[in-house]
């Protein structure tokens, strides 16, 4: 199979994220280097810096704000590219620090119910598979509910992950009512005294009102059994997504009260810079990032490492 899988040695999370991000931030960091050897921070340079931030999906508003901060401190002064990158990285880390929170499973909830939602193809099922393996390895009893009853073979996909992790997967035939499945899964998981129940859902675009209603119904139905469930509602964001992420968070949060984000596919050339803008706008916790296809490639989100990776710094 892939070269990556043949490689037995596992790199640390920081190396993985950094190698992912730095390959990707080559352009950003390289761009900054190209702008400076050592020169005066003037309006034109600031504009170019702002552009480079935009090219990492930070969005026009956040990029403008970061550059304005830099200008405030360093305008008309001699600066090196290293200084500029450090300054941006520190600023970005400061924005991300408050949202970098790992997902905590509350032992008092039996089970702790985690609902996973997101648009199509963002990586929900894969993320659930990785979470299940990690929690299982921590000695928790994990149950999965194959709530994507729409997409062809989505159930089978989760079942394979269930087998790999050695955890039970509750499933019904394709086309079943996902809310009913969620309800039954919850009662089964409660009976079994599971620590965690993770409910998968079908991918849905946030502008499809009827599908968003269906998602809200799943939450309603769960609450009938356990009023404070789901204890966590995760929105899985594709790391390649652009400014549409704002709409995704806005609408999903409104419909199902999203409690945290997981950002996937950061091992590619995407920069995931939109996370910075999201942190500013919504202040939702970012629980984890996906940096590869292996189970341990789902890693806690670390603000400083992410910010420095984005800026191509060690």
């Amino acid at each position: 199979m892939s070269a990556e899988q043949q490689e037995p040695e596992r790199r640390g999370w920081f190396q993985r994220l950094k190698s992912g991000l730095s390959r990707t931030s080559d352009k950003l960091a390289g761009g900054i280097t190209a702008l400076f050897t050592k020169r005066k921070l003037d309006t034109k340079t600031l504009q170019q810096l702002e552009d480079l931030l935009i090219a990492s999906d930070l969005g026009v508003a956040t990029a403008a704000k970061l550059t304005a901060n830099l200008a405030h401190e360093k305008f008309d002064k001699e600066v090196t590219d290293e200084e500029v990158r450090e300054a941006f990285a520190a600023d970005i880390a400061r924005i991300l620090e408050p949202v970098a929170r790992t997902l905590k499973i509350d032992g008092a909830n039996r089970p702790h119910v985690v609902l996973v939602c997101g648009v199509n193809g963002s990586g929900k099922t894969t993320t659930i598979g990785k979470l299940a393996q990690q929690w299982k390895a921590e000695g928790k009893t994990v149950w999965l509910a194959a709530g994507d009853t729409f997409r062809a073979a989505a159930i089978e996909q989760l079942q394979v992950w269930g087998e790999r992790a050695g955890v039970p997967v509750i499933a019904r035939p394709q086309g079943s009512d996902p809310a009913a499945l969620a309800f039954d899964s919850l009662s089964q998981a409660r009976e079994a005294g599971a620590d965690v129940l993770v409910i998968d859902t079908a991918g849905r675009l946030q502008n499809r009102a009827e599908l968003m209603d269906e998602l809200a119904k799943i939450v309603r139905v769960i609450k009938k059994q356990v009023p404070d469930a789901p204890h966590d509602c995760l929105l899985v964001l594709d790391g390649t997504v652009g400014q549409n992420a704002h709409n995704q968070v806005k609408v999903f949060r409104k419909m199902v009260n999203v409690s945290g984000l997981i950002v996937t596919k950061l091992d590619g050339s995407a920069r995931g810079g939109v996370v910075v803008a999201l942190a500013e706008d919504f202040a939702l916790p970012v629980h984890a990032v996906g940096v590869g296809e292996q189970p341990d490639d789902l890693r806690p989100f670390e603000a400083r490492a992410f910010a420095r990776g984005l800026m191509g710094l060690e």
């Binding site: 892939s2 090219a55 999906d57 073979a153 089978e156 996909q157 675009l205 997504v241 652009g242 996937t264």
Partner: protein, 491 residues
Amino acid sequence: MFESLSDRLGEVFDRLKRRGALKEGDVAAAMREVRIALLEADVALDVVKGFIDKVTERAIGEEVTRSVTPGQQVIKIVHDNLIEMLGSDSAWIELNAVPPVPILMVGLQGGGKTTSTAKIAARLTNRDKKKVLMASLDVTRPAAREQLRVLGEQTGVATLPMAQGETALSIAKRAMAAGRLQGYDVVMLDTAGRVSIDQGLMDEVRQIRDAVNPAETLLVADAMTGQDAVTTARNFHDRIGLTGIVLTRMDGDARGGAALSMRAVTGVPIKAVGTGEKIDALEDFHPERVAGRILGMGDVVGLVEKAAETIEIEEAERLAAKMQKGQFDLDDMLSQLQQVAKMGGLGGLMGMLPGIGKLKKQMDGAGVDDKSIKRQAAIIQSMTKKERKNPKLLNASRKRRVAGGSGTTPQEINRLLKQHMEMGRMMKQMGKMGGMKGLGALLGGGMPPPREMPGGPGQNAQLPLPGSGGGFPGLPGLGRPGGFPRFPTKR
């Protein structure tokens, strides 16, 4: 947050006079807004820069035609150039090769390759009457092959039987052999998702390409992709050589700037767009729609063109003058009704506006439709000239006559008179508030979200339609005088 390019350009050009050629300064100011609009739409920075340079060059010195404002003129130029860049030629899968024609589907994880493979296969089968075999080369993602098999069953397209322990390359070879032996016209190869910077995985897909020599190599990409679109597209194109792009999730509310970025860096056409979860939700690529979407303004250009075509400026200006003085009589109302009808009625008008789909449904639900416009016109046409000038003349007996003449009832006539009165009052107010600005505040400024719409079905739903101030910077004639009359509900 960015709302609409036309709003912003409206502001930029507010201080300009309406006539004359576009000057360098004006264009530069406008291009700053265009630049932000494109970036907010996720068009890649490099592409934005190149685009702006080109458009600036073309826009300077452009004569502003009499019927539009400078802002509209710039939008038109930007829009036309966007379409040109997106590629006006619509292209479909090229099957000019010896059967079985191999088609290779590549892209990132979760882009929609498998679904798109099935959609294209179904279209080739049903519309182009080809015999298609689908094969999944995805041995990485759990149940990916199962997914394609199920989709094949649903669409009645054959899939290559699965075997354990094969590599992607050997499956590809087996698929081509099966295609030859069993007389298939097309063999579609659905590869595993891969990031474009993974050398090993890119080599693998290159080997597959070399082994099967595909007639088409299609990059399947998500319309929601951000700035990375350009990197991904470039990497795939450099390493494997693309012949086309399939853009998925165009039914979402992303502005779709990725389309422009990928087209710009690869130069290959966008061959299809995915617009839903159903198997038949695959459409041809319409550059003009995507252009409007990237600019965040629906098909405003179409609206502007249509307005310019159908609305007589002199008539509109005469109306505007009358309204300022508060002399809005029933004849004027009739003239407005007729202009709306001319522009393709409410349906045609609303369809061209951005973000109106829901409102349109609501209007249908409330019974606001073109028929009621016709009925209203009929009522006014059944009145004498004197009555039209002075509606107060209409006593019970005259109303009965008008009702008989127009095939309506006195109640409907009362409703129309009430609306006319309200419109008159509103316009007087606007005159006081200073014309256009006031109108914008009243009408165009805030199109309320459908839920907050006053009046449910059966009531006299008053629909504020976008007037000049908000939606369109001084749409000729249409918006300026008074927007639209408040449309009545059907009983």
